[in-house]
Symmetry: C2
């Protein structure tokens, strides 16, 4: 049976909506108080796993799910071995460099040599500053990255920004953008090549949904 | 000013209570709807940062906080460069190996060679199986690790177990314990040696609180 890995959190609602448009109903995940992590669509044609955004590529890479929906930021950070198929156009945000508004820095290149940059996206941050040829120390944090500059632990942060409200509330401003991110459809490469469980028909159906939405 | 890094989540309430017993009132963090990540004690003798359990040692290692309260599991997983001072005796849990109750495995050594073990605690899991001389593949997950065996992606998991309810609800059983964990008091090594901001008096006060609690 086709299995789809669906991300909890910000991408959940749009993911369920998109899958429902191609005939897969996993709306049970949206019911208040839902505790199930694994459900079967009422037509019994497909299963869904409800997992963390950052775990989606793991389930797809190991073939436990043939399809997955995940933020592009996770694909950039983890570089998983999955087939990256469709830009789903929802969940827009950007990976940005931010500093205290009161700081003198207005671009990444103005940051001090051997300064510190706090981030949950250690790999993205490291690559970006290497590319700029600016030696900085990346401080790995798991939550509330904005505390880095506030406490003075780091000069800057690299983090996902959607509305910018969190930055504003904490007196931070964006000074550079590493890349734009949206939700993406990914597949287990071998399942995609072998068209396991009629995978390709679902992929094409999703692709045409997105095209129609853009044309509309 | 003395700064203490306090962990969000399961250890928060006991941490605030312990600090209040040594004269530091950070109960504002417990108020419903609190959004502050940084507060000063009403006597203005100390500051507290509210951060993720796994971020506590980062703030202490970089000297942004001189003291911190953190689960022993994090100290084992991250091996941060901090002074590990007092076992605070609350937040008891254990790092365990668990498998599907329906599986044939009843100890770690019965797991199949080159099997898979899903865990958020990649370092702890790897060291444990290396020590057993059992070659396994560690699959890094960030949440709902119990889905590993349920979906068949992994034979086992290594995860923190407190009450065991999550395991039971998911049809898993513990088969081995890596180590017991409790909350620990940690300090920035140099601040501790130099007794910055009368740090040592607080540490001794906390130590005697714990001793009194055990004696009582």
């Amino acid at each position: 049976m086709l299995t789809v890995a669906i991300p909890k959190g910000a991408l959940l609602k749009d993911s369920i909506q998109l899958l429902s448009a191609v005939g897969l109903d996993f709306s049970a995940f949206l019911e208040p108080g839902n505790r199930q992590l694994q459900i079967t669509d009422p037509t019994e044609t497909a299963k869904a796993l409800l997992v963390r955004n950052s775990d989606v590529p793991v389930y797809v890479e190991y073939g436990q799910a043939q399809l997955g929906i995940v933020g592009y930021d996770v694909l950039r950070e983890k570089a998983p071995n999955v087939a990256h198929l469709v830009d789903l156009r929802f969940g827009s945000c950007r990976m940005s460099v931010a500093v205290k508004a009161a700081s003198p820095y207005r671009s990444s290149l103005e940051l001090p040599l051997h300064g510190r940059v706090a981030s949950k996206f250690v790999h993205c941050a490291r690559k970006y500053f290497e590319h700029l040829d600016l030696p900085v120390e990346i401080v790995p944090l798991y939550g509330s990255v904005e505390l880095g500059p506030i406490t003075g632990m780091s000069e800057a942060i690299v983090d996902l920004v959607a509305t910018g409200n969190t930055l504003r509330e904490n007196g931070l401003i964006e000074i550079d953008v590493l890349f734009q991110s949206t939700a993406r459809l990914i597949a287990h490469p071998l399942s995609y090549r072998l068209n396991t469980d009629a995978l390709n028909a679902y992929v094409e159906h999703i692709r045409s949904q997105i095209k129609d939405a853009i044309a509309a």
